[in-house]
Subunit: 221 residues, 2 copies
């Protein structure tokens, strides 16, 4: 049952770790462009600033198809564009958010998403005191309208920020109406049929890495 990592499609499959690093380069390059713009940048420089290996940066960039020039490196604007296109961030994708709690509010208010081609159109919630409100320019609608809205708009991405207890139920509602990908922030595994994408954001996993590393650090003297 089930496969691992590696995202395969038409061309070369791309390792998931690479995919996760590309946005880091992207954020870095955009910041650089604002704070100390330069025409060219080398993998060595990127690696130095981000604290990883130049070879890895080069390998990662290879996947995007960006072309560098010996002795000077990549043209920053071209590199940004290459990453954008490669990740599909050049054209905007719309999404609905389900569950307008604190986390939902945080995501609604996060300005960064538009740089990544993600536009949250509206939020849904079941609590009467939230419905009708507008948060960061986005309406909070009653959750019972969700399926209908998904059908009418053809939106494919659902961001699930509801409590664990109703996560599966809400996921089912979204999938039934045509959602193809769920970004799941609920601390519970949700079951979906084959062909549906779930990206599970699990704080506990990150905390585990942190805890373990801290424990080792504190133990070593």
């Amino acid at each position: 049952m089930a496969k691992q990592s590696m995202i395969k499609g038409a061309s070369k499959p791309i390792p998931e770790p690479v995919l996760r690093r590309l946005p880091v380069y992207y954020q870095y390059l955009r910041k650089l462009n604002l704070e100390s713009p330069r025409e060219y940048i080398s993998c060595a420089k990127i690696a130095e600033d981000l604290n990883n290996l130049a070879i890895q940066v080069r390998k990662d960039m290879e996947f995007t198809g960006a072309q560098g020039r010996p002795k000077v490196g990549y043209r920053v604007t071209e590199l940004l564009k290459a990453i954008e296109i490669f990740l599909g961030w050049d054209n905007t994708t719309e999404a609905y958010l389900v569950g307008a709690g604190n986390l939902g509010f945080a995501l609604l208010g996060y300005q960064g998403f538009k740089d990544y081609g993600l536009n949250i159109i509206a939020a849904f919630d079941s609590s009467a005191d939230k419905i009708g409100r507008e948060v960061y320019g986005k309406k909070i609608l009653p959750v019972k309208k969700l399926p209908d809205m998904i059908r009418r708009t053809g939106i494919k991405i659902g961001i699930l920020t509801a409590p664990a207890s109703c996560a599966q139920e809400l996921a089912d509602a979204m999938l039934g109406a045509g959602i193809k990908a769920i970004w799941n922030f609920a601390p519970v595994k949700i079951s979906v049929p084959a062909g549906i994408i779930v990206q599970h954001e699990n704080l506990a996993s990150s905390l585990a890495v942190l805890s373990k590393r801290l424990a080792l650090l504190l133990a070593e003297r």
Copy 2:
């Protein structure tokens, strides 16, 4: 410059992917314990429910030192305990949270952390209308008191939920006062001296995986 993955310490180094999966098993087992308790569980059952491979589950559990019994599997309570101890979640670690925006509120209100041995003691912010408030039983204190509080309490973990623009400055303040590990939710890379742990929570990385997989899914017909 810089190494990859693999967390090494006294005993066998543990692969980071394993470390990230253990909390998923942990959440699953706890839920199981509540909803349909049973004395024993096999790797095959866990794998089936979580949609991965039994062999991987077995291998992962091996790291925790949990002992199973042929024909029946692991005793659920023992397995939970083994994971807890292995991750260091059996005794509580205290943390401060810096940046009481929506995301900060969301983390302050998240009840799950106590299961993972993390206790957020207080939050810090610079905005006058937040200071003094109490959120989910946690006080919001002025950020200028942060260094002193870290020194006095000896707290080692800082959770950084401030805007990107002041992330580095706040990180420096924390480190100067003795913080050893930073859980960074700001969408920017922060620089820290050697020996300090940074766990960077990057939404863009997850979104990249989601975007790419969705793009491939939608392209394939």
